[in-house]
């Protein structure tokens, strides 16, 4: 009997009514989450001439690469992509170097001035000077309008330092001792013992920093004066968000806005790299952050 088979199958899987409700709810939630993506995706491939606002369709009424062609042929997009790639690649590498070396130092309680350094780090977690002092600092050290202004002020941060430090404290000291007996100095211990053992958190933090750099918006907007150096997010925001003074009454000027399909294509292009990389690094991501969390 078919019904009986099915029943025993479900019994074997131990699915209860609660499970069904859970699954249904989860499916609904995931559909809600994925919906905007599909909409943006399909709009970006819609031919501009057939696009009608406020008319919803899951698949383009007419497929076209027009919007992508327009964006990829514009110099500003390519310039911004270069800037963003530069700060993402160089910035992430430097973030990792500075975070991991500093965290290693902080994980050694015997280090002279340890508690002072620790207090200094925690201080920045609690107190923040604000935008204006940061801007003045960047200006006075001559980093205005340099892509380095998006990298150097944030080489590391207190939260990452503390998480990585806690993780490093969880590495058994015996491993380091045996390395020292074999003739390793501090640096050797760091590169030959600590780093290989920290691969999961390296991957997690690499992703973490990379996403941060990829999404750089506010700092890029205030520090960069040359439009050729703009990061992707600044360009995309200026393309997408309506300008402050629209129409009349503001007494002013109207922004010339690109069509909706072009904006959507720009969104897809800007999230694509992260979207592609994320699933592959995700397992390290959860793992890496957890490792630090357990030790606390």
């Amino acid at each position: 009997m078919k019904g009986g088979d099915l029943l025993s199958f479900y019994k074997a899987r131990h699915l209860t009514i609660g499970d069904y409700i859970n699954y249904t709810l989860l499916i609904i939630v995931s559909l809600i989450c994925i919906f905007p993506f599909i909409y943006v995706f399909s709009m970006s491939f819609t031919a501009p001439e057939v696009y009608v606002p406020l008319k919803f369709s899951l698949l383009p009424a007419k497929w076209s690469l027009e919007s992508y062609k327009f964006i990829l042929s514009s110099n500003s997009f390519i310039n911004s992509l270069n800037s963003t790639l530069f700060i993402t690649v160089v910035g992430t590498c430097l973030n990792l170097v500075f975070t991991f070396t500093a965290a290693y130092g902080l994980s050694k309680k015997a280090m002279p001035g340890h508690s002072l350094f620790m207090k200094a780090v925690v201080f920045t977690l609690v107190f923040n000077a604000g935008i204006l002092p940061a801007y003045i600092l960047v200006k006075n050290v001559g980093l205005l309008n340099s892509l380095w202004s998006l990298i150097i002020p944030g080489l590391t941060n207190a939260w990452s330092l503390i998480v990585v430090k806690s993780f490093m404290e969880s590495i058994p000291p015996e491993l380091e001792e045996s390395a020292r007996i074999d003739g390793c100095n501090e640096i050797g211990v760091f590169f030959r013992i600590i780093i290989p053992l920290s691969k999961a958190s390296l991957a997690a933090f690499a992703l973490f920093f990379a996403v941060g750099h990829w999404n750089t918006y506010f700092n890029a907007m205030i520090y960069l004066t040359d439009t050729k150096k703009w990061t992707l997010q600044v360009l995309i925001k200026s393309m997408i968000i309506d300008s402050g003074s629209v129409g009349f009454g503001g007494g002013g000027d109207e922004t010339i806005l690109p069509q909706e399909t072009i904006k959507m294509a720009a969104i897809i292009l800007s999230i694509l790299p992260i979207l592609v990389v994320y699933p592959f690094v995700q397992k390290y991501f959860a793992q890496g952050v957890m490792i630090g969390a357990i030790k606390g």
Partner: protein, 505 residues
């Protein structure tokens, strides 16, 4: 072996960082030493910050090359996306990082006022004098232009000239004709016309889904004039009440509420974005929309693709307190010169701005170069594809430009006959329209500090009142509460004083 590794690592690290730093910075260095003997014809070099309204332009494109050649300047432009201009410009002002010239669109932003009061900019009253040295300023500026650029009776900037006539209440002429409705002359006739259009299925899709009055928020511009919201209104204490808190404004909200309840406005208008509104209108889903007049030609072209015969007309509607026509001041912001600039250079920069107010430079700003950016057909200049790309709002952002009465009425891509017809259609606006005193005119520091706290709430309340989520009585109570707020009352008093100063100038 280990120490060698460390050494190599640190050397390569520092080299890596150094090269990076150099490559990041080198472009910002400029050669400033000029030869003494050809100093007199050397182009005037200065740095200007301005708002960006389009794709970032390249200063080496044909338009900017010509602009700099004609004015004998070498401009160093820093563009800030218009939506972020306030944020970034405040940081620049507050950190003392003020470029030689600032093109500020909002004359009454609190940071700018504070900057002026703290002496960040040159008082140019003395330089301008009786304008005898500045012929173009003398003849080519909007009426009262320098009044708008003054603070405490001193002039601090030269204007960004823009047309006073700008917005128009557009309606589909072809639809009116189809239904035999004469062009509406009053708000009541307008309402009746919208009703008739909405109840007939004009796009023939079998559904009565045409939007009457399309907007992306409560469409207050233009209509406010018809309800007297732009007329100076004093409260009991002698303060001058801001437009949005006047009884006229509340009457207007009540009128919109009626339109909404009759189904004459888009159901979800509060969530429509500006770009979507334009697209809805140009795809023929709405009867009426309020926007700059000069769009008509291009929008008709787009409309005709899907609805042949589409035609737009701008209405002059009589309301209970006058015609529904709002004008701009004619001064859309100004160019401020940093106090750090030496006096000699200030004079040169002012000369540059005077030159940009000439008709020659004005034509360049509006149309670009002949046969590159525009072609002359039957005496009218019509922009080419390159013209549309390079000659836009951003390209008008570095000069004063001559005040042009029809600047926002003419379409740069339309034939002469079309623009002539538009002149006839809206010519009356300049005579009957009203200026919003609180838009780039009167100053109150208290208002600048207080109103941001209420702005979002007010917008939400007026939307709720229009869609019927709250009663008119509730909205009126809310407006009264704001009117009774001591800080806002102080602001009204400051506005009254500012108005007095403005009239006496």
């Amino acid at each position: 072996m280990n120490s060698k590794w460390v050494k190599n690592f640190s050397i390569s690290m520092s080299v890596f960082m150094l090269t990076g730093m150099l490559s990041g910075c080198n472009s910002s260095k400029s050669v400033s030493g000029t030869n003494e003997k050809d100093k007199s014809n050397a182009p005037l070099e200065f740095k200007m910050v301005a708002a960006l309204y389009s794709d970032p332009p390249s200063l080496s494109d044909p338009f900017w090359t010509e602009w700099q050649k004609k004015t004998n300047t070498k401009l160093d432009m820093e563009w800030i996306p218009s939506a972020d201009f306030q944020t970034k410009y405040s940081l620049m002002l507050n950190s003392g990082n003020i470029p030689e010239v600032s093109a500020v669109p909002d004359l009454r932003s609190p940071t700018l006022i504070t900057g002026i009061q703290n002496g960040a900019f040159w008082d140019i009253t003395g330089f301008l004098g009786d304008l005898s040295e500045y012929p173009n300023f003398k003849k080519n500026l909007a009426p009262d232009a320098f009044k708008y650029l003054s603070l405490d009776k001193k002039i601090y900037a030269v204007p960004r000239s823009r047309s006073r006539m700008d917005g128009g209440i557009k309606i589909r002429q072809d639809w009116l004709d189809k239904l035999n409705i004469p062009a509406p002359k009053t708000l009541d006739e307008y309402e009746a016309a919208l009703k008739k259009i909405v109840s007939s299925d004009l796009d023939g899709n079998g559904k009565k889904d045409t939007i009457g009055l399309l907007s992306s928020s409560v469409p207050t511009g233009m209509f406010d004039a018809a309800f007297g919201a732009l007329d100076p209104y004093n409260n009991a204490e002698g303060g001058l009440v801001e437009t949005r808190l006047t009884p006229g404004y509340t009457d207007m909200i009540e009128w919109f509420r009626k339109l909404y309840s009759e189904g004459l406005m888009a159901k979800e208008f509060a969530s429509i974005k500006d770009t979507q509104a334009i697209e809805l209108f140009t795809t023929g889903t709405a009867a009426s929309y309020t926007r700059s007049i000069w769009w008509d030609y291009e929008w008709e072209k787009t409309l005709n693709k899907t609805q042949p015969g589409a035609k737009l007309v701008n209405l002059t509607l009589q309301g209970p307190k006058g015609p529904a026509v709002e004008l701009n001041t004619g001064v859309a912001g100004g160019y401020y010169i940093s106090k750090k600039v030496p006096e000699e250079k200030v004079k040169k920069i002012l000369k540059y701005f005077d030159q940009t107010a000439s008709t020659e430079l004005n034509d360049l700003g509006y149309y670009g170069i002949k046969d590159v950016h525009y072609k002359e057909v039957d005496g009218a200049k019509i922009l080419t594809a390159q013209g549309i790309k390079e000659v836009n709002v951003t390209s008008k952002g570095a000069g004063v430009l001559a005040y042009s009465k029809w600047g926002k009425v003419w379409s740069a891509s339309a034939p002469k006959a079309y623009n002539d017809a538009k002149e006839k259609e809206v010519g009356i606006y300049d005579e009957v329209g009203k200026i919003n005193l609180f838009n780039n005119t009167l100053i109150s520091t208290t208002w600048g500090q207080t109103w941001p706290k209420f702005d979002d709430e007010f917008t939400a309340m007026q939307t709720k009142a229009v869609v019927g989520q709250i009663s008119m009585a509730e909205f009126k109570t809310y407006v009264k509460k704001l009117n009774d707020n001591p800080d806002l009352q102080k602001a009204f008093k400051e506005f009254a004083q500012s108005y007095k100063d403005f009239l006496s100038k």
